[in-house]
Subunit: 125 residues, 2 copies
Amino acid sequence: MSKQERMLVELADQVECCSPLVREPLAPGQAVELARVFKALGDPVRLRLASLIASHDGGEACVCDLTDAFELSGPTISHHLRVLREAGLITGERRGTWVYYRIQPDALRRLSAVLVLDDTAAVTA
Amino acid sequence: MSKQERMLVELADQVECCSPLVREPLAPGQAVELARVFKALGDPVRLRLASLIASHDGGEACVCDLTDAFELSGPTISHHLRVLREAGLITGERRGTWVYYRIQPDALRRLSAVLVLDDTAAVTA
């Protein structure tokens, strides 16, 4: 797929999925889907985990890169990573001993598109 | 304040408050503050209320404009409006019989700025 095609697909997806909430009332079904993703970010530990993963060298991080930032047990970190994953905000891939996590850019784009204040910004965000 | 000054203040606020989470790890304090706002949007009814208010004629809506969209009691709607208000996403002003609600554009801008994927988008969103 060319860069242009990819941009068109992304744009169509944004329009279909989530036009800005200031433009027209969100449909109930859209609201359920989006609320799930916002809720996943509605926790300080999960927000920091998402940010640590997204800003890590190479755009991916393993649990071994994440645990030192928190005074939390491994299972608690794993729980929060699972919530982020189930909301479609990150993906995980096992390679050897560790699972490596990456942010899902499309998920961030979609949320950002919902929050922008005018149509121009929705397309460029 | 001139338009340019206002843009500079907004930009400074964005940089100070919430640089994109893909750029650098969120500080714990920022994460607590932002998570509260994301959590407020992490409910389908509240998302729809925010969208109904933001997209309403004139950019404001009273409870009388909102209740018909939901099969929920008045107190339940009021509870959700209070959560949005306490998170800084809407303001309410009593005029006569009704409280009129408006979206807080700065709050949406701030969240959107956190979610964008590159620095250019953060400034234009």
